[in-house]
Each structure stands twice: as C-alpha cells, then as structure tokens.
C-alpha cells in the first residue's frame, strides 16, 4: 500500500506560475531583459552576415543591403537596435543593483520605468540621426 502511494504521488499544489501574477513593471523589465538578450544572441547572425557581405564584394553586398533596406529588413533592424539599447540600459540597472543600491521599491520602479522610456527614446534618436546621415558619411 505504502509503496503504491509512493509511486503515484498525489497532485501537490504548485508554486504560482508566471501567468498568475498581475504584471509589475520590474517583473516585465526582468523578462524583457532576458528576451532581448536572447534576441541579440540570434541577432549576431545579422552582424556576421552584413560583415561577410562587405567582405564578399559589391554584388553580394548590394543583395544583402537590399534585403536589410527593405521594409521588413528595416523593421527587423529597428527591433534589433531597440533590443540592443534596452539590454544595455537594463544592464546598467543591474550594475547599479550589484552595488547594493536602488533596492527600495520606489527606486526599483523608477529604474524599471526609466529603462523602457530611455531605451525607446534612444532608439528613436538613433534612427532619426542615422537616417538623416543616410549615406553621407
């Protein structure tokens, strides 16, 4: 009897999963930090592809440049640049926390909101600046 019970353990209550909690800004920023990190990981393929294209010569560069300059390509690059800036600013937040500072709830919320606001603002600024320079180095 005891053995049979042990083989089929009763369904125990699990600790709450992610979807149980109402989203808090610091929790969302924590998740987004990991997602942007993973996206940047895969996105290094874009950098490698672009560098190989330049090294391969004008024909292949024109082909790759055409894809990256297409509407879909620009959306991907826009997302990639935002992910990079967001992960960088989120990283600074973590470095601040590493010093033991900013752990009171008000600071946690302020740092988290600051991360998303600053990352969006810097992405817009980067693109306005980059597009205004368009080819005119």
């Amino acid at each position: 009897m005891a053995n049979a019970d042990m083989q089929r353990p009763k369904a125990r209550p699990l600790s709450p999963h992610l979807q149980i909690y109402s989203p808090l800004i610091n929790m969302v920023m924590s998740i987004v930090h990991r997602i942007t990190g993973a996206a940047l990981y895969v996105g290094t393929l874009l950098l490698a592809w672009w560098l190989v294209a330049i090294a391969s010569g004008p024909d292949y560069f024109a082909y790759v440049n055409g894809i990256m300059g297409s509407p879909l390509g620009l959306i991907v690059l826009l997302g990639y640049s935002w992910a990079l800036l967001h992960h960088m600013i989120g990283g600074i937040r973590h470095l601040i926390w590493d010093t033991g500072r900013g752990f009171d709830l008000a600071s946690v919320d302020r740092l988290s909101w600051g991360t998303i606001i600053l990352s969006l603002a810097l992405t817009v600024m980067l693109w306005i600046w980059g597009l205004s320079m368009r080819g005119g180095i």
Binding site: T44, A48, L51, I54, A55, G91, D98, G130, G135, I137
Partner: protein, 139 residues
C-alpha cells in the same frame, strides 16, 4: 605492527579538505564566481564598445559599397568592432548558458544545448573576425 588508524573525520571537521583546496575556495563545483564576474566585466566592455561601434555603423545606413568598405578599413571602426566581437562572444555564451540551465532540466538535452551554445558563439564570432580581418588586410 601497530598502526593506529585515524578516525573518520566528521563532515563539520572537514579534515579531508586540503589547505590548498580551502585557499582556492572553489569547493566541489570547481568554479566560483567566475561566471558572475566575467558577465559583469564583459557587460562594461560591451557597453563602451557598442557606443563606439554603433555611432559609426548607424552613419553607414544606406551608404554605397565603396563608402562602407572604406569605413570598414579604418582601424577606428575595425579595432573596436573586433574587441566587441570578442567581448560579446564571452558575454552571450554566459547569458545563453544561464537561460539553458534555467529551462532545460533533462541532463542530455541540457548538455547538448550547452555544447551547441559554445559552437554557435565560436562560429558566429570567428566569422565576424574573419570578415573584418579580410577587409582590413586583404583586397
């Protein structure tokens, strides 16, 4: 023949650990805070290098081939770019390792993914290095 055997030390006495092992402070895991520390070091170097590289690459948006190639030949771009690739390789490998260890609990799948992680990082990283080196030194 009267050899007195030393009594088995209790775990709290920890007499089995040599002074050297104690000094190294790594325990049975054979690694300490390396992962944490290296992730921080490369976070800082990545930050500086991304700023330097991004400001130059963003200006190349829509530029023609000759302009891009000339820019890539400049050590002011290629050197920080190579440093960023190296620093980024370490950082992204550690980060993905954490993600894999968090979500994959079956030992076989975890070990396989950790290997693929290393392969991916080296493949992408050295591809970038090769391309930049070719542009810097070659045709």
């Amino acid at each position: 023949m009267s050899t007195t055997l030393r009594p088995t030390p209790s775990p709290t006495e920890a007499r089995i650990r040599t002074p050297l092992a104690k000094a190294r402070g790594l325990g049975s895991a054979k690694s300490g805070t390396d992962h944490f520390w290296l992730q921080r070091v490369t976070a800082v170097s990545n930050f500086v290098l991304v700023v330097v590289v991004l400001l130059q690459i963003a200006r190349l948006a829509g530029a023609d081939y000759a302009t891009v190639k000339t820019a890539m030949k400049s050590p002011l771009l290629s050197l920080p770019l190579l440093l960023l690739v190296l620093s980024g390789m370490v950082h992204m490998r550690l980060g993905m390792q954490t993600i894999i260890e968090d979500y994959f609990h079956s030992e076989g799948r975890k070990v396989l993914l950790l290997m693929l992680n290393t392969f991916f990082v080296i493949l992408v990283g050295l591809t970038c290095v090769y391309a930049v080196a070719k542009l810097s030194f070659g045709a």
